[in-house]
């Protein structure tokens, strides 16, 4: 526990006495980067956060979007990186638990989970493989037990995550607008702690997460108990239905310290609490440990005293504990007592609003040293390259992962994992499409364009299902922000995301910043992750396998943008070149046209063209339909670039011949760049250039590599 000079000064200026030990502990937790966002808060304000569908209430940890007919969707994203790098099963599981309680806090039922997982090279690094396997098990164990389907996500492997893990979890909730918790409190309202007991697990977790990972501090990792979480969800929703809850907050990073100070600050109230009333797992916990323990499955609830017996009755039914730990005061102070003894007495806003920092930034030197192209020409046959790419763990099917997740429970999952965006049906007859995307390889080469690209890719995926994007969440993950070069990459990312969000008019309804993602080997590549939510008013475009004689159209331009591609990095082990750049107006135009074609029922299916480029996008369709294709590549670029460049704003359309003329005329009217590139037929994936075959691969061979590679790596140890 240590404070920086400006923080010590801030304390001296505001508190004219020596702080108690408990106060120091509380401030150290709350002012950690993890809880206070001291490096990023000022800059996050640039993101557009309002829009016609956005509902804002005091003290929400999740974003709320109005989806019409009296219903709302809530969304939040978090990571649990440090804990997962030390203890992947527990770290990943508790990451799921935390984000679910943020959804619950708004008074909505969690209905879906998404996770973005990143590890080192699992082909060669056994530790990375162990982290990956156990993080997946942790997520499965927790989400499955709760009955919340994990319906999407992504998995990526890169050397920069060696001895580390990024575990990002996004959760979506659904509920009636009228039942949202409108956080408020009256003087003498009771402050309750509901759920799991407070123990020594996770003590100091947020400070642990606010430093580089140099030693494995296992006691800072929380222990998951999904059964208790399930009981809490049902109990809290029953309390909500009985109108027993005035305000609510989940206990996450910083434990009680953070929950109490932030609740008091956001509601403009004081809270007096007695640590003696907190139900404990171990009786000898010190008051300071009680205040900063991050034990899981706990909710802070503020209720009117007349509702206490009803709440107790509901908690008794589910056999979960409910302790009255304090009450609401008028004085706006956070007052922590141990019986009659005062341990801490500080203004809540002083605790909750840690002093912010202006970090320096400078363009990283490595960027000017990146080579522009590989030193030697490619000599590998293109068919071999495609076959190898299909088995790259970054491209191969993630079936091994998502079959361990119950993705059907809740019976809302209309488009299942393994396609572009996942789609859930909502109670008002509409559909919600969600996708999360990250791309550290692009972001490393161009942090701004890379971040925009992740955002555009998530939008594209949602658009492929026929959904119009209505909101986004971002999760910005970087190394140590005290390093000006790393801070520069953070600023580039957030500025890029802001520009694109404003251009497309998509509000940012939630997010998180995670710094200090580094080990003794160095920082991770910049890893912003973007989640996009879209709404489908009528019916989604279901994934339909292509069949014989279906025509293939490509919307969007393929550019000379191999930088950060799977082709460069996985095949040629080359980091450099020009990363894909989103052309804003082309992006918007293509989204609009694709949505209009879908709404007119003119296309059979639409597939996003991204990692691995056109060659992979087409191969995935062939594998899905168990059918070959014949593609004639335009010769504006070299074959490698046409096949493997990961240029954005591209969509692969599968269409019936009869609709071709209508589609072409609409796309021409919309001024969209498109070309008819080929047809599905036979049993081979064939690419030609100027009528010369340049790549031939049997679909069954492609399928075998694509479907089984990931599982094989895992089975080998």
């Amino acid at each position: 526990m240590s404070f920086q000079e400006h923080e010590k000064k801030h304390i001296e200026e505001n508190v004219k006495r020596k702080l108690t030990d408990t106060e120091l502990q509380i401030l150290a937790a709350e002012w950690s980067e993890h809880c206070s966002y001291k490096s990023s808060k000022k800059h996050l304000r640039m993101l557009p956060t309002t829009g016609p569908n956005v509902i804002v209430e005091k003290g929400y940890d999740s974003g709320v979007l109005d989806v019409g007919d009296g219903y709302v969707v809530t969304v939040h994203i978090e990571s649990h990186n440090h804990p997962s790098a030390v203890e992947p099963f527990g770290g990943a599981a508790t990451g799921v638990g935390g984000v679910i309680r943020d959804i619950l806090s708004a008074g909505t039922r969690p209905i879906a989970l998404f996770d973005g997982l990143r590890f080192g090279n699992i082909e060669t690094d056994l530790h990375a493989r162990w982290l990956f396997k156990n993080a997946v098990s942790g997520i499965a164990d927790y989400g499955n037990c709760l009955g919340i389907p994990t319906i999407g996500g992504e998995v990526e492997f890169d050397e920069c995550y060696k001895n580390y893990a990024l575990v990002d979890v996004a959760a979506v909730g659904f509920g009636k607008k009228s039942k949202l918790i409108k956080n408020h409190a009256n003087v003498d309202d009771l402050v309750l702690l509901i759920g799991g007991s407070t123990g020594r697990d996770g003590v100091g977790g947020s400070q642990f997460a606010s430093d580089a990972l140099e030693e494995e501090n296992r006691s800072a990792v929380q222990i998951p108990d999904p059964f208790i979480e399930k009981l809490i969800i049902e109990a809290i929703l029953e309390c909500r239905d009985e109108n027993c809850i005035n305000a609510m907050k989940d206990l996450g990073g910083g434990g009680l310290s953070c929950a109490i100070s932030e609740t008091a600050e956001s509601l403009g109230i004081g809270i007096e609490l007695d640590v003696k009333n907190v139900h404990l797992r171990e009786s000898d916990l010190s008051p300071d440990e009680i205040m900063i323990s991050e034990s899981q499955e706990r909710m802070l609830v503020i209720s009117d005293p007349i509702n206490l017996s009803k709440i107790k009755q509901i908690c008794d039914k589910f056999r979960i504990q409910c302790s009255v730990i304090g009450k609401v005061k008028e004085d706006k102070m956070m007052h922590v007592k141990n019986g009659d003894e005062t341990l801490a007495l500080l203004p809540a806003d002083f605790v909750a609003r840690g002093p912010l920092i202006d970090r320096e930034k400078s363009k990283p030197e490595y960027l000017s040293k990146l080579p522009s192209s590989p030193s030697s020409e490619n000599e590998m046959p293109l068919s071999d390259i495609l076959l190898k790419l299909l088995s790259s763990p970054n491209i191969a099917s993630k079936h091994w992962v998502f079959r361990q997740y119950d993705h059907e429970v809740g019976i809302r999952t209309v488009i299942k994992p393994g396609f572009d965006g996942s789609v859930l049906r909502l109670d008002n007859g509409k559909f919600l499409s969600v996708k999360i995307d990250g791309n550290p390889k692009h972001c490393y080469i161009d942090p701004r364009q890379g971040a925009i690209g992740c955002f555009e890719e998530a939008c594209r995926n949602v658009v492929c299902t026929g959904a119009t994007p209505i909101g986004m969440v971002d999760h910005l993950q970087f190394g140590n922000p005290e390093d000006p070069e790393i801070f520069w990459t953070f600023m580039e990312s957030i500025e890029g995301i802001t520009d694109f969000a404003k251009f497309l008019d998509i509000p940012c309804v939630g997010g998180k910043v995670s710094f200090y993602n580094e080990t003794s080997d160095g920082p991770i590549k910049p890893t912003p992750l973007i989640g996009v939510l879209g709404i489908i008013e009528k019916s989604p475009l279901l994934p339909t396998p292509p069949s014989n004689n279906d025509i293939i159209l490509l919307i969007g331009e393929t550019k000379d943008e191999l930088g950060g591609s799977e082709y460069y990095e996985y095949i040629h082990n080359f980091i450099g070149g020009v990363a894909p750049k989103v052309d804003f107006s082309e992006s918007k135009k293509n989204m609009k046209s694709v949505l209009s074609l879908i709404s007119k029922n003119l296309v059979k299916s639409v597939h996003d063209c991204s990692k691995g480029g056109l060659a992979i996008g087409i191969s995935e369709l062939c594998i899905f339909g168990k059918i070959g294709c014949n593609i004639d590549l335009p010769s504006s670029l070299s074959s490698e670039k046409m096949l493997f460049s990961e240029s954005h704003s591209r969509y692969i359309l599968v269409v019936n011949k009869n609709n071709l003329d209508d589609i072409k005329s609409i796309l021409s009217d919309d001024n969209c760049s498109f070309s008819e590139i080929g047809i599905f037929s036979g049993d081979q994936i064939v690419f030609e250039s100027a009528s010369d075959p340049i790549l031939k691969l049997r679909v069954d061979k492609a399928e075998n590599n694509y479907l089984n590679s990931l599982g094989k790596i895992i089975q080998n140890g």
Binding site: G147, F227, K230, E408
Partner: protein
């Protein structure tokens, strides 16, 4: 007529089952918390899937000792149709209402996958509108779904026509690829796959009709006495 849907701490397919019974098949259904009594005039009982008691000790074993199970046993003796799905099946097995045990899947992992069932017995209250050997596309989602009985019991099961469903392909290592069984009277049925996840077109784009017939069989048996 009324169908009781039992809710244990940790049940998580209870609301899905309720939705399908009421919204899709217009049945009159009611939730019963595991500490409540079941009315003796109830027409059918469903034990839904989930993780009762977090699957601690062994899936279904703690819930099998819930107070409501003694009522379920009484109703079973009276011949009332009782269906256990997934964790509900595990509970019925653990409470002795159905033979056999459910072990960890051969893969040792949780498995959520679509598979095909084959109907082996179409005389139960939940299969009477299905045909023998009819295929049912349906999802499984479990970690402990591998059905096992010893050879002697297996012979008995076959002899008494107690194997209700089997998997078309090897899915999880179940003995004789058994996916669902019934008691010797045929009124208590347990199955690992989830018919409530396959009975609507919107979420089952393969073919939702066979799973619908499981619910329509129940309607056929008890009648629409709303």
């Amino acid at each position: 007529m009324k169908v009781g849907v039992i809710v244990f701490p940790g049940s998580n397919c209870d609301r899905d089952m309720y939705h399908v019974l009421t919204d899709v098949f217009n049945l009159n259904a009611e939730f019963f918390w595991h500490e409540k009594n079941l009315p003796q005039d109830i027409d059918a009982v469903v034990l839904p899937g989930g993780f009762s008691y977090g699957d601690r000790l062994r899936a279904g074993v703690i819930a099998a000792h819930s107070p409501i199970i003694s009522d379920v046993k009484k109703l079973a003796e009276k011949g009332i149709p009782i269906l256990g799905v997934c964790n509900g099946f595990q509970i019925l097995v653990e409470s002795g209402l159905l033979p056999g045990v459910l072990l960890k899947n051969e893969s040792l992992n949780f498995m959520c996958e679509w598979t095909n069932l084959i109907v082996n017995n179409n005389t139960t209250p939940f299969t009477n509108k299905l045909e023998i050997n009819q295929k049912i596309p349906i999802p499984i989602a479990n970690g402990e779904g591998r059905y096992f009985v010893d050879d002697e019991s297996l012979t008995q099961l076959k002899k008494n026509n107690q194997i209700v469903f089997s998997y078309e392909n090897k899915v999880n290592g179940s003995i004789s690829q058994i996916a669902g069984v019934c008691n010797s009277d045929g009124n208590v049925v347990g199955m690992m796959p989830h018919p409530e996840r396959a009975a609507e077109k919107e979420i089952n784009q393969i073919d939702h009709k066979p799973s619908s017939l499981i619910f329509e069989s129940l309607i056929e048996t008890v009648g629409m006495k709303n």
